[in-house]
Amino acid sequence: MIGDVWTVMRKEWKELLNQGSSRLGTFAGLFFTVAVLGVALPLFNGRAWAEGASGGGGGGAYGTIGVIFAVLPMVADAFAGERERRTLETLLASRLSDRAILFGKVGAIVAVGWGLILLTRFAGLVALNLVLDGAAILPGGGWWAATGGALLLCLYLVGVGVLVSLRAPTVKQASQAMFFAAFGPLLLVILLSVLAFVVARLLPAAITGPVGDAVEAGGWIPLVILAGLATLLVPVAPLLLAMRRFRRARLLLD
């Protein structure tokens, strides 16, 4: 099984590398991404990019989002692309198991996405240490948390993307559906957070007071655990659903 997953991953990477008219163009694109997101942004943000509690703050977030957007076409291409280029049926007619095909594709995209994020973030650390004077700049807890969070975000987007791509007849349709499917829930979470904040401000102290007291007394620990579990579950849920829906006999649409 692992060998088959690796076979699919290798194929995906080779296709990605050969995407343009030449490999030189692909590597030039990679160089540009690292130069902007991994060197220019960290230098613009300075020491706080690595040591700040926000894990690189706005610069870190831009870097992650930039890479995610670079990877999104790959996700949309996962199955819809194979279907559009008339290779899906041959792939499904091969000896490879359902799981090997699914995990191979997911693994290849996550590895590229998160690999690029790691590359840009470590490039940022190196750039900061080379350019800025003073004590060595080491990544803080926020930096590590943001880097781990980027992996979860990658997993979530790839899971949603694959889920959408499984049934989409073309890459274009998969991309459009994926945008709403992936970013809709994220926007909803942000909106609900803002709403909760506003409501908390508007509620009378008689209601918010006991909650605040409980949080100050250490009652926040279960909340953090709950939030942590939700953070892990949200990225994994679309993948689990994709595994459930990946059935050869339902993938040929015509």
Partner: protein, 347 residues
């Protein structure tokens, strides 16, 4: 046991050194009253059906394909040929009935079926961003061939198909025929026991088509592999297949050896080219008991004969009447005529 007549060229495919190979009789077991070797069917289909919404793509198919046979699955566009292949490979689930391949139900044992099969489907199914070598490497890995096997077998097939010089080029830039050849290499790479070929000669030049036909014949005749072939080229089917099924609107119209199907389309025929043929002579020929129909066209006498007809007697009649006979050709209905007849009957 009666001898099996005319089994096409797959009967004795020549080896590369030019020596003949013993005929593979198992391929001819169906429709000719027996064979030297009894083989279990590679494919067994029983009342197989598949609906897409309200559309019935495959409707109650039942047939069996013995191991080592080239099975020709013939039918017009949209008749259900590709859907049947998809059902056999477990890429679609049947709405009714069942299909077993190598004894495995296509619903439950599709992984095993695919492991032992190779399929060239409607499209070549090649990764156009990859080179020929990379494509074969991927599929070789998918079938868990060792690195040595992948290299050796890949080289052998690419050389055989005349693609070796272009092995490091991306497939996307290739012509349709070259892609089709590479797709055939992909199918044969892991030496499958069962080979599905959906219109394999489509897009190939005449030389490549002839070469592929020879290869298909050798696969069944020499290596005992089963080939499930769909084609619109009826001459090709006639030449290659030990068993033919004709499908239309999802239903099987006929099944048998090409000779059987041809026999159903009509009895023996003769064409006599002669000078001095006239209406009176035609009338006398028509009166002969062994002649079913006779027609005079461009100085040629076209005859549909009854079984056991003596053409020599007809020639003697013509010569006696003063005609100068130049050429006599005997024949039978072609598979194409049989096929067209079936299509006409069910229109």
């Amino acid at each position: 046991m009666p001898p099996c007549p005319g089994y096409g060229r797959n009967e004795a495919a020549p080896r590369p050194d030019g020596t003949a190979v013993a005929p593979y009789r198992a391929a001819n077991a169906v429709g000719c009253g027996g064979s030297e070797r009894v083989t279990t069917p590679t494919i067994e289909v029983d009342d197989l059906g598949r609906d897409f919404g309200g559309f019935r793509a495959v409707d109650g198919l039942s047939f069996a394909v013995p191991a080592g046979t080239v099975f020709g699955f013939l039918g017009p566009n949209g008749s259900g040929k590709t859907t049947t292949i998809r059902l056999l490979l477990g890429l679609l689930e049947p709405s009714r009935g069942r299909a077993t391949v190598f004894g495995h139900d296509s619903r439950l044992g599709a992984d095993e079926i695919r492991r032992r099969s190779g399929a060239l489907l409607e499209h070549p199914g090649l990764y156009e961003r990859l080179t020929a070598e990379e494509n074969l490497d991927f599929f070789g890995r998918a079938w868990r061939l060792s690195e040595r096997e992948r290299l050796e077998r890949g080289q052998e097939l690419l050389r055989h198909l005349g693609l070796w010089e272009r092995r490091r080029e991306r497939v996307g830039a290739w012509s349709r025929g070259q892609r089709q050849k590479l797709a055939i290499a992909r199918v044969l790479l892991h030496r499958p026991e069962l080979i599905f070929l959906d219109e394999p000669t489509a897009g190939l030049d005449p030389v490549a088509s002839a070469s592929l036909r020879h290869d298909i014949a050798a696969l069944a005749g020499r290596e005992g592999r089963t080939v499930f072939l769909t084609t619109h080229n009826l001459a090709e089917a006639e030449q290659l297949c030990g068993l033919v099924g004709v499908i239309r609107r999802g239903r099987l119209l006929a099944l048998g050896h090409p000779d059987e199907l041809r026999a159903r389309a009509g009895g023996p025929r003769a064409e006599i080219v002669a000078r001095g043929l006239d209406a009176a002579m035609l009338a006398r020929v028509r009166d002969r008991p062994e002649v079913a129909t006779a027609e005079l066209r461009d100085g040629r006498l076209l005859l549909d004969l009854r079984a056991g007809a003596d053409v020599a007697a007809i020639v003697a009649l013509l010569v006696g009447g003063g005609a100068a006979v130049e050429e006599v050709r005997r024949g039978a209905a072609t598979l194409e005529e049989a096929f067209l007849g079936l299509m006409k009957e069910t229109r």
